[in-house]
Structure formats: C-alpha cells, structure tokens
Symmetry: C2
Subunit: 206 residues, 2 copies
C-alpha cells in the first residue's frame, strides 16, 4: 500500500500490529477516527495508555484489578479452599457469568507453548504452587482450554504439585446443553460417556 501521508501510514501501521487487524481494516478504522470528533481519538488513546501504565494485577490471583486484592479474592463469602486455574481474565468473566462457582481463581496469564516461546517460567505458576504449599487450598480445578498447550500446562502444574495434599480436578468436557448428539465430535461424545454423572446431579444443576 502506498500512502500519500506519513502520518496516515504510521497510524495504519500501528493499528495493523493488533492481532486480526490487517492493513485494510486498519485503514478503515483510522479513516473512521478521522471522520469522528477529535475527542474520540483522544479518549481511545488515553484509555489505552492509562490502562497500560496503571494496570494492576491482584496480588493473590493475578487477575486484572484496580485494587491490590481483587473483588473476588477480597470477598469473604467466597470459598477460599477452592481455586480454579484459568488462562486469563476472559475465562474468569465467563465462569463468573454462570453464577455456579463460588471459589477463588488463579490466573496463569497464558499457556505453556514452545511454539510461541512461552515456557512455565513466563506464567504465574510458582505463586500457585506456593499457595498450595501453604496448605489452605483443598481443591484445584483446572479450567484451561483442552488444546495441546492447555493439556501440557495442566500436566506441568500437576507434576509440580506431586506430594502435596490437594485434590485436582478438571472441568467436565461433554456435549453442550441443547446440542444434538449426532453432530458432536467423537472425542467429546466419548468423554461425555466415560465421565457420565449420576442422573440426580443433572437435575440439581438446573
């Protein structure tokens, strides 16, 4: 793409550094901002730099939080013996949305991925193991996505916990509620049969 303006080219370049935003989309977004009042561009860039400069992670669970201890960790009603291990804040938000979970979280900040150069030491794993060593956690629930990276990460943490007195579990994989069996993939259907639950439980959950 040949630009008639360096300023424009620079803005499009920086915008296209975002994941999933190509040069064309970046140009469309930047031209949109040019048509809007100047305030909108200022609000956007201030919101981004403010977040980047002042972002704080909960000192206990590593979730993004404006306070030293996040609302969930600070809530006396949450069950502090139960910790759900997730990849990032999106997973926390998704699980919170269900209103089915009343324990705490531990945000790893990613998954072990040799392909992307992310090793165990780039993740928030040591503090998790230390928390377990302190002895107040009864159960860890692994809720990483069931990809190779997720399984590797689960397994790595599982090995680190060897000899420690903690129950580990993973969230159930199975057919989505409302899905037709015939369209489900075999691995999921297979797991949902292997890990079948007592019928009474399925009634309670709703």
């Amino acid at each position: 793409m040949e630009f008639s303006s360096k300023l424009l080219e620079n803005a499009v370049y920086e915008m296209s550094q975002l994941p999933g935003i190509g040069k064309r989309t970046a140009l469309r977004l930047v031209l949109h901002l040019l048509k809007q009042p100047e305030a909108q561009t200022r609000l956007l860039s201030e919101a981004l730099t403010n977040l980047r400069d002042e972002v704080n992670f909960c000192k206990s669970c590593n979730n993004i939080s404006d306070t030293e201890l996040c609302e969930i960790c600070a809530n006396p009603k949450r069950d502090k013996t139960l910790v759900c291990v997730v990849e990032d804040i999106r997973d926390v938000m998704a699980i919170e949305n269900t209103s089915q979970y009343h324990g705490l979280y531990h945000v790893l900040g990613g998954k072990i991925s040799p392909m992307e150069g992310i090793g165990p030491h780039d993740l928030n794993i040591v503090p998790l193991v230390n928390k377990v060593k302190e002895g107040s956690i009864k159960e860890l629930i692994f809720a990483l996505s069931s990809t190779m990276e997720g399984d590797t990460t689960n397994f790595y943490i599982f090995k680190q916990l060897e000899g420690l007195d903690v129950v580990t579990s993973t969230i159930a994989r199975g057919i989505s509620v409302g899905d037709e069996l015939e369209y489900a993939d075999e691995v999921t259907l297979g797991r949902s049969i292997l890990n079948r639950v007592p019928f009474e439980n399925s009634i309670k959950a709703d």
Copy 2:
C-alpha cells in the same frame, strides 16, 4: 460484561466504539496490548493522536497529505485537465495501484446519504464545481461506487455542472477480468453488453 477493573472496562469501551469491533474483540485487542511491551501501546496511541491533530488535506484535491499540495497534484507529469471524482483516499490508492491513470483526483469525503444525514454541503462538492468553472478541466470521471448513494451523488454533481464546458464520464461497469459470465449478476452483465468496447481497445488495455 462485568469487568474487574474500571481501567480495563474503559479501554474496552473506547476500543469497541470503532466500526466492526464488538466488545469481545475489543477485549481481545486490549488484552493483547497488555501482553506486549508498553512501547507498543504508546506508539499506537501517539500515532492516532498525531494523525488526528496534524492531519492535512490537499488544498486542491482534498486527499490526505502531509504537504499543502499532495504529491499527485504537485506532480508536473500528471494531466491536469482530467479529474477523477472519488469518495475517499482508499479509492485514490486503488486507482493509483492500477498505474493506468495519469490525471488528478478530487476527493469528496463521502457520498450523499440522507439515511446517515450526509447532504451535499457536508461533502467537498462546491470546490469541485468552482474548479470546473475556472475552465482548465476538460473531463470529470465519476468513480463513486454504484450504489444508490453513489448514483445520487454523481447526479447531484452532474446537475451542478449544467451549462459548464466539461465532459463527464463514469468508470466502466462490467464483468471482472477472469470472471465467468454465468455467475455474473444480470445488471452488470446487461451493462457490460450495452457499454461494449471496440475489440482493439480490450487488447490495448493489457
């Protein structure tokens, strides 16, 4: 969406004001920035505010340009008697890419669209008519998209030019090079037959 941080919520909100960016995508983009070095966020927001604050439009064609007169208008090799009327800079870039056009452009900045509240006076039409009145332009090529808004805008400008000594044309609509006739829509195919060109011309164009 319930956010654990006001800073995060604010950044996601501002990002989701961009066209085609929903809350989920905005969150993904913002979390990506958080994982990158701080410099990337600063570069992005500076590029956007710099462009918004310092953007300049060519005083002749209204294209985005860092100089008072854009490179195309300032180029002595371009044919100044030929002006192509386009909607925005993307159209200029697309036509420049073909290397088939050696005239100037006139960027309207949009199309007449009552639905979006854009009237003729929100567009850069008066300067175009004035340029034509000065008498140095021999031909205006309308290259707006062939939508209702594009046709309305073409027609509005055409009416403004009544009585002035200028040839007007529109870019040819027809079957794309390489396309199969059977898949073409009827309007396009119909126009491509009505506006057929001498066979020799089609050889010259390649």
